[in-house]
Symmetry: C2
Subunit: 599 residues, 2 copies
């Protein structure tokens, strides 16, 4: 820890509002909860509250990012008619439920807090150094500094608040609209300890430089950066599966080159290789000449879960964790419609086999990113390939291809070309490096001395995949919980629907079937897709009793798609020199913490 | 062994033809070889010849069927211009090559053999009891009995001749046209020892009875019968991969009910569920009103390799080995064309989702076999679903659905309804037992007490599959061979092309990539199929040096399709109560026989 790591004792205090009866759900449950907490601070339950600390602290060590996401559903439930039960559920994981359960009848007591009149100025460095329960948990919001250490255990979104520790709250609140409520600001105000130094506040705006990446957009601080230039990052797994539709800000980013700045007015899309010469479309023409089509589709990087292959033997590529996969809605013109307008017909199918895409992103030599897909995928009515100009209902973000990208549902991320400049219907695959000499699978026996890239097909459809996002590897569950909830995602390429996820707590000896869902928990499930057009992932969850004898769990998941493809058991036999297609069973080890044996 | 197991000493002898120079390839290489063999019988090489016997004998024990197939390619090569080299290659596996190599210069010596004038009569039982090198190897052909014990080691098709031991040659020769040559009969005549009893000759024609299966067709004796009524059988694996196109006679048979006898003249196909009422087509109309379309497609039973699941825990179903899969060419009308003629159009697609099929095969209550497939597969131009009336260029055999069956390429065998009587376009899946309560996959945790058949989708596309056909599990290879050749098949459902097969000799620790082929060895490979339409399997082969230290090999294969789906490593985690979808890595154990340590 750097300078200023000693937690400051400044404690802002506000006078509490009159407490209200629990039968009035319109009164903030959070305020009630906060009060309960205050009561327990000096009472006999102080011990229980501190018992919660180790679990949160271990999370803080594990999560290296500088800031936080919160659980939208928890806030919603806390303010709905059944907020009592919901709140109890939310708190169960934090250790605060005991305090709440025993003391909510005392909630009408009023505590008087003085407001500090003059507050100190802190540097960003000082703030950043406070990101654990031991050192204190500080955050900034609109230029003010807050010490939220005391609030961590009460946060309805659980441990995730620690993701924001030492950083700014705003990008996380932008993710979870539930925070945009008056009472949330009221709670926050209570913890104000000072102001952020003016120059550090300015630095929170991105610093531009003159390198090729200087025009890259700002990114969400929660992203775990695998490479800065070009930018490659993934969200923390436990945030990833909070939302069926991944918010664009935390959707994994996989750029091969600097993000190009494209002027939407002068943008032109060129379509070549069809009878009647080239077709050129402005963004406006793309939006108005063709019907707008929307799909929900999961994109996955070929290198997702590469880090597990690196543990077998080092491979070449970014060390992706399990979150180089995300799910969004995409809207745009159907590629099929554009190709038909440009002269595509049965005659073309006789000579052409591929549709190539060129991005507007370039390397220093002027070479653009490129890829291709099979013609039949591009022109099929059921292929659903889009020239997308919207992601999650808004213009594409810069990192995701503004103003137009290809979305090839069911197909590896690398073919979903961003900042699309040109479409070429051709007898040949794209000649780009990424099509010819990358993104291909090989035998574990193939090394860089023996590899013949021509011997393997370019990856298009991806195989069945699943991973565990909660709990994280290396964490612990308390024996007193009696059960453990396991969550994750599952997806398969080629429009094959995930039909089952099996979960094991004993390394794969015995299995149980998880619950699947195709929407957020409080929403109706999406209509089942037609056969072969299941482009979106499924989230899954299962709560299992803790085995009586076990001291450690090896939690494993494996998914099955509707072609009954299964994931391979182990990583080594699918290891390949590029570390792609890493889809073995996902395994996490979790210790069971016996209640008496820990502090 | 039954009565008459003592080998008889009768030895028929024929006078050899004048031996000819080896530079005259039109002279039978087999006659030459036979002569070489005769020479060695009484010479110093007798020892070497007998060294070959244990390998063949072990094969005889392993192969329980009563009769034999031979290697067509070997005969062809033996009579081609490069017959010297080819013959040496063919013989390498039998131990006879040494005899040939040292003695072919003595081939012009003439040996005089007396012909026995009066030959004994044998019963079928006596013949059947001679099916090993120890007991002698007898066969019948057109009512004559032959003792071919001496010929076994010289057979160009290798050990496969033992499949015919104790039985009739004719069905095997029918499989391999190479035997239909004058000199083959000449060789055989040499080994004649008697005649088959007249009543047993008659019995070689099938005995009809009055049970529901009495009109079932005759089957090839090489088939390994898993169930007689209904008839379910598979070919021996080592024969299966001799031909890229499986001969119809040994194509695996999977009947659910008695084979119906269908009169082609009165046959009618009914198409229902489309605008304009039912369409009825005669066989002639089906053949003449619609273009004839031919595809090569592999069919696989959902229960293929079920026996491996039975080793984990008993499942319900026929104990299939690895050969409930075969490959054939199929010709017929496209289902799509017939549905269009019957009124199918975009309006139908809005209300219908499935195409149901009803067979003409019935149980005692009159219930017919039935199944359905998704409508989009049925009507897609690229789905290639056929109403087939030809298999391998001839009318469908009775066991394969004469006169018309559905061929749904890429889809589990169970949906390829035979003896097709009715097609129904519907909003619903087939209500048949086989669609609703069978042919579905479940978790290993699901048992017959907990299974909910509604919770799993009916199997349609099958997952990636491969298996080792040569060498067989439990056999041995000689250390002196220095290498081992491994052969097998690989296939994936849904038109996904097999792109790689990895083979391991050490149980999966290290791997090598096998050679794939899409045709018979001496033919040009088939043209690569369009993406998503790879309906046919690939055969594969690899020759690997024997590891210096190993005493036993655990040979493993695993295949990869062009969606990069892989086979799971082990059987237990994919075990399911019906024993379907058994596609874990295939493993065979083979001992290495050190030269000095065996007899």
């Amino acid at each position: 820890m750097g300078a200023g790591s000693e937690p400051r004792s400044v404690q802002s205090r506000l006078e509490c509002k009159q407490a209200t009866d629990a039968t009035q759900p319109n009164i903030s449950a959070m305020l009630l909860l906060r009060r309960c907490h205050r009561l327990t601070r000096f009472g006999p339950l102080n011990t229980q509250r501190h018992q919660a600390a180790p679990a949160v602290a271990s999370c803080a060590v594990r999560l290296r990012s500088g800031s936080s996401g919160e659980d939208q559903r928890s806030y919603q439930h806390a303010h709905g008619p059944s907020w009592r039960q919901a709140l109890a559920g939310v708190l169960a994981g934090t250790g605060a439920v005991l305090a709440y359960g025993l003391h909510h009848h005392k909630a009408e007591q009023v505590e008087t807090i003085e407001k500090a009149s003059a507050l100190p100025i802190f540097t960003q460095e000082e703030v950043t150094s406070h990101r654990s329960l031991e050192d204190g948990v500080w955050v900034t919001y609109k230029g003010a500094v807050y010490n939220i250490t005391e609030f961590v255990a009460m946060h309805p979104g659980g441990d995730k608040i620690m993701l924001a520790a030492g950083g700014d709250l705003e990008p996380f609140w932008a993710l979870y609209a539930v925070h945009k409520q008056e009472h949330v600001l009221e709670i926050l105000a209570e913890y104000k300890i000072g102001e952020l130094r003016a120059e550090d506040l300015k630095k929170q705006q991105s610093v531009k430089s003159s390198d090729p990446y200087s025009s890259d957009p700002e990114r969400h601080p929660v992203l775990r950066i695998n490479n800065l230039k070009p930018f490659n990052a993934e969200p923390p797994p436990e945030i990833l599966t909070d939302s069926y539709i991944t918010p664009s800000a935390i959707f994994f980013k996989r750029n091969h080159l600097p993000v190009p700045q494209v002027d939407p007015d002068s943008y032109r899309l060129h379509v070549e290789g069809l009878p009647g010469g080239a077709l050129t479309l402005s963004l406006e023409e793309l939006k108005t000449r063709f019907p707008k089509h929307t799909i929900t589709a999961t994109l996955q990087c070929a290198g997702n879960r590469r880090s597990e292959m690196n543990k077998v033997k080092q491979v070449k590529g970014l060390n992706w964790g399990i979150a180089a996969i995300s799910n969004a809605t995409w809207s745009g013109a159907r590629l099929r419609d554009v190709l038909l307008a440009a002269g595509y017909g049965p005659d073309v199918a006789k000579r052409a086999c591929h549709v190539q895409f060129e991005g507007l992103d370039k390397d220093v030599t002027g070479t653009t990113y490129g890829a291709s897909i099979p013609l039949n995928k591009a022109v099929s009515e059921e292929g659903d390939v889009l020239l997308a100009y919207e992601m999650n209902g808004e213009d594409l973000p810069a990192d995701h291809g503004y103003p137009v990208r290809v979305v090839v549902p069911g197909t590896v991320g690398a073919r979903n070309v961003k900042w699309l400049g040109k479409i070429i219907v051709s007898a040949e695959e794209s000649s780009s490096h990424w099509q010819q000499n990358d993104y291909k699978g090989f035998s574990p026996a193939t090394d860089w001395d023996t590899v013949d890239f021509k011997s393997a097909p370019a990856i298009q459809e991806l195989p069945i995949q699943s991973a565990i996002t909660v709990p994280a590897d290396g964490t612990a569950v308390d024996r007193s919980n009696e059960e453990v909830t396991v969550k994750g995602y599952a997806w398969s390429g080629g429009g094959r629907e995930v039909v089952r996820v099996d979960v094991s707590l004993d390394g794969g000896k015995t299995w149980q079937v998880a619950q699947l869902r195709s929407s957020d928990k409080d929403q109706a499930p999406e209509v089942s897709p037609p056969p072969g057009r299941a482009w979106a992932w499924k989230l899954w969850e299962i709560t299992v009793p803790l085995p009586a004898e076990a001291q450690e769990l090896e939690i494993v998941c494996k998914a099955v798609d509707n072609s009954y493809n299964m994931q391979p058991d182990t990583v080594a036999p699918i290891w390949n020199l590029r570390g792609v297609l890493s889809n073995a069973w996902h395994r996490v080890k979790v210790k069971i913490r016996e209640d008496e044996s820990e502090e």
